[in-house]
Symmetry: C2
Subunit: 470 residues, 2 copies
Amino acid sequence: MPPPRSLPRGLTLILIPLALSLIIRPLLKAPSHLVLPALETNVGFAILAFVATAYLIPALGENFIKIGLKGRDLLKTYDDAIPECQGLICAAVYITLLTLFIPFPFSSFLTRERDYDVEGLAGGDFPHQQLATYLSALLSFMAATMLGLLDDLFDIRWRYKLPIPIIASIPLLLVYYAEQGLTTVVIPIPLRKLLGTVVDLGPLYYVYMSLLSTFCTNAINILAGVNGVEVGQALIIACSVAINDLLYLPWPYTLRLGSRELGGEWGAGLAFGSKELVERHLLSLYFMLPLIGVCSGLIFHNWYPARAFPGDTLCYFAGMTIAAAGILGHFSKTLLLFFIPQIFNFILSCPQLFGIVPCPRHRLPKLNKVSMLLNNSEADLSWEKPSVLRDIVLRTLSFLGLTRLTVDPKTNKIKSCTNLTILNVLLIWFGPTTEEALVVRVMLTQCAGSALAFFVRYGVAGFVYDGDRR
Amino acid sequence: MPPPRSLPRGLTLILIPLALSLIIRPLLKAPSHLVLPALETNVGFAILAFVATAYLIPALGENFIKIGLKGRDLLKTYDDAIPECQGLICAAVYITLLTLFIPFPFSSFLTRERDYDVEGLAGGDFPHQQLATYLSALLSFMAATMLGLLDDLFDIRWRYKLPIPIIASIPLLLVYYAEQGLTTVVIPIPLRKLLGTVVDLGPLYYVYMSLLSTFCTNAINILAGVNGVEVGQALIIACSVAINDLLYLPWPYTLRLGSRELGGEWGAGLAFGSKELVERHLLSLYFMLPLIGVCSGLIFHNWYPARAFPGDTLCYFAGMTIAAAGILGHFSKTLLLFFIPQIFNFILSCPQLFGIVPCPRHRLPKLNKVSMLLNNSEADLSWEKPSVLRDIVLRTLSFLGLTRLTVDPKTNKIKSCTNLTILNVLLIWFGPTTEEALVVRVMLTQCAGSALAFFVRYGVAGFVYDGDRR
């Protein structure tokens, strides 16, 4: 195994004072001069999150190996033990910093001089009543982390594993209930004649929220297997959510996009003067920026060739964080758009997950130890009974370029197919490659997915929704 | 090792329906007919907590042993691996139930028909504003559990361990700060000429609160070593706190104690009509009753001969819970009184902890494998340099009956002394005994301590405090 990576000392020496100054500045300066003082602090915490995670992972790795939280890298030629479950360090740093962040948006010392409203907006600060909501989210993050750690420790079986994100989301849901949160959804224009403009889903809304956290968690868990891919996708999704949030904040300048005008002096971007929208997206940002920090810290060590593995803890924790941002920010539909590659991967996997096509234990690409390139891994069908359904599914997927079949030229029977994952599709389309290049391909796919998501959300959605976005 | 214990099936069949009916009754009946509907639910949850813990510990024990969370019993003749860290199961059950409990006191469905006040008290129910406080306590419990588990897993060194309870109490303190909680203390009457009736401690109050959680945690951790003693003391302290809380609730009947009248129809016991006092002690009860439940479940398996060990997780978790009840209930001085045996044990241990008297690695009593009785363990002084301070300390303690010395009759030099713990004192005073009888002695001491505490609090405190108890 290559030696551990460490942050360049120069970078640390720049980042730490920068972070501290961002945290302290709102305390020193008359806060009324700042647009979003707590957000500035949050950026400081996000930088600290990056530095702390990047520092702690190599420092604590040995301890994880000692107690058996270790794995070996299946796509390498060496056999060294690599610390697993490093998502625990991310989660611990994240939750600690988010706890220390509590007084900034929620106590009065930042807001005492800023009781004024600008254009109907409370100059960008945050209502104290939302403290309970914030705390319930922290509880859910902690529950997800705890259950993730237990999963990594005890290797919980699949059927016990599935409800874990639902259990972790209970604090969020119950506080949402106790606080009498909205359970309505806005109906797309074409369906309004049928259902009305707004429909109250009632208890179904809670089912929807808990399923959202299950989805986010498992979506990240299932697209895995090559160095950096779990944390990389979490990072890109978190960045996409953060960019989306930034569009709704009150910036002191105007952005023109074609005929559309975003912002205006003290205007609130796409929030168009809605205080509620600003608050929701601020809350989401408070969760996303430190998540970006810890994920960046982990990917620094998890990038090819990996010195640390994220473990299930990261998937549970990051999935829960992203889901909570979507739930509390009320943009769950937009959030789902950022998961386009994961949804694609899931749908593609279904024939193997549901037993139509045989599913080997590991579906990750194979390392060719001569060329040192990754090749498609395959599912062997030669011993399977013939099945019309399977043949139709596989030949359709093959026609779409999503799998490559090996067919017996005499009998025309399918002997094997490449495994049905997005990683294998990328290898079919662009040829065998190194592990690092494959991860880059996945990351670019994820970025393309986010670009598509923004296009759908702000280009296409205009036809089916009006400005009334709740 | 003897076979695992299991709850009698008949008991389970009685307890589960009883618990469910207590939980469901306030939902069915017009809540206005009940005095404290959420408290009734809480009792139901406490019973469930007991059943769940008692069931899960033997069911999950093997998994703990498998991943190395195991220990062997030092005071037994057998050598079997016994699952450690079972406090984790207590904490998981406790936190899950307290999370599920959220809607009962904090949402409106129990209170919608009860907007009336009786004699100035809101018929015993709970203000929604306190939700943030409740959640912050849950966060602290979870942090304590997480850190306890990490301690059990990684065997954290002492100097890193000490601040753990302070870290775990941060959510509690920060929310207390953000909510602008009281930081004043009432001064005893004799000192009021000097300091005034009430003094605002300001930031010192936060230091005091975090030290309280450190104290509660370590007090339980240090009095350990014989089967059942950690969880037994936590159980008795929790019961004492709960009994103290019950004195402040509005009961529909009057209790006469000498010249003192407690309660009165819809009166609020010792709260004398203060809504705030009722609410504080209700919150404390909500925390204590399920704690009594999980501790009873654990002691069922941890009682001599132990089939399960609590681990540090229990000490952190139970200590934090008890401290939070004292902090949020504003009765930290009364709480400290319930720790009289622990304080005595700590003061007695000081000469060994601070190196005046040599401290062997284990100070627990020794098993005599012939008589099968526990005898005093001793610290060997024969190789130590002479020390006047040590001689004074040991001869004073020996004079008080708190240690037994072995003195060389020729030189009059102290050759050894019994270890300075309350367990050894009980063996000196009442003679060698079985492990089970020793635990009973400790439990009786703890009960006597609580009785003394109640006497001091409600008998003696009247001379130094008036009714103005904040």
